[in-house]
Subunit: 138 residues, 3 copies
């Protein structure tokens, strides 16, 4: 069994942002030389997500608006913010969008359906944060 | 390390539907001959889910009603639908229900608790779509 | 390839509770002897979750309040409860919080970002329930 590890770094200009990281995951897989296995991609921070969906700008605006309705930023609403933080909403938004994806690796490629793209979802940006890619297989 | 890949195909009669695919995943595992490892089951389409919950019809109706309240179909509400699509709600519903499950394989069986069943969750049906089963192990 | 399996048991005093199980997952990894691979941690019950977030009491109260708003206990509201159950809300809450996490194993350790902690999320407690840890690698 072989394994490969790669960190990706991000610093988004906006508090909430979605970044297509499919090319980065593809590059990590190519560097690994692994042909058959599983590829884990996860946010290393608890106010961010990794998820798979469509690379369409309108949909990303829908995500942003909808998440804000379900979990308003509202600094005074959340008990977590009494610790001096203001990002309670980010921790909750990330639960809806998910921490990680696991992708099949087949014949040396990410084994995707026709529209699957991997995104980094940032809910408390404007600082440096990381995503982990870990691939195991042969 | 061994690996096994199987595609499952679906075309549901309703726009929203839940299909118990546990027998299909069991069959893929039996065909693989793998005794210890991990089994990934994921929707290959971004308006569908794979998840684990209870095989109870009332609960599935609760899922349908509740998801519609959280994410109404409402064609004019979502920016994604300005592309000519009408399925923005499906992309959001799938984020709540999840893209994938990873199941432990122990002694050649899906290592499940007493009520765990695997479902395909369809949120934009009436056309052919796929689920991927990828098993790695020994 | 090596594999290791460990069950963790819980019986929470409250109906809804969050338990930090990071030390238990660490111990399972140490017992496995695995240095590079993947670690799956999943609830074996369909009214409970395993997720990764912050170990901060105020945030956990925010989770509890917010989940209750999104999915009220309300015994008469859900069709699943007509079966004689009263835990339909627990099945839905677990979909938001997730069934499982997959954690990279690197150099014999859980490969975590600075604040990542693993939690058992209970939504229908006061009885014995299980979490499965399955680690594969070398």
């Amino acid at each position: 069994m072989r394994s490969h590890r790669k960190e990706l770094w991000f610093e988004t200009a906006e508090r909430v942002a979605f970044v297509n990281i499919t090319p980065d995951v593809d590059a990590a897989l190519a560097a690994s030389g692994i042909r058959e296995g599983l590829c884990l991609v996860n946010a290393m921070h608890i106010s961010a997500s990794v998820f798979i969906n469509d690379d369409e700008r309108g949909l990303h605006r829908d995500f942003t608006t909808w998440l804000e309705q379900l979990v308003p930023y509202d600094r005074s609403r959340w008990q977590h913010n009494r610790t001096g933080e203001d990002n309670a909403d980010s921790h909750l938004k990330r639960q809806i969008m998910g921490r990680e994806v696991v992708i099949a690796v087949t014949c040396g490629r990410l084994d995707f359906g026709p529209w699957e793209q991997v995104f980094y979802g940032e809910f408390d940006g404007r600082r440096r944060k990381r995503v982990l890619v870990k691939i195991i297989g042969e």
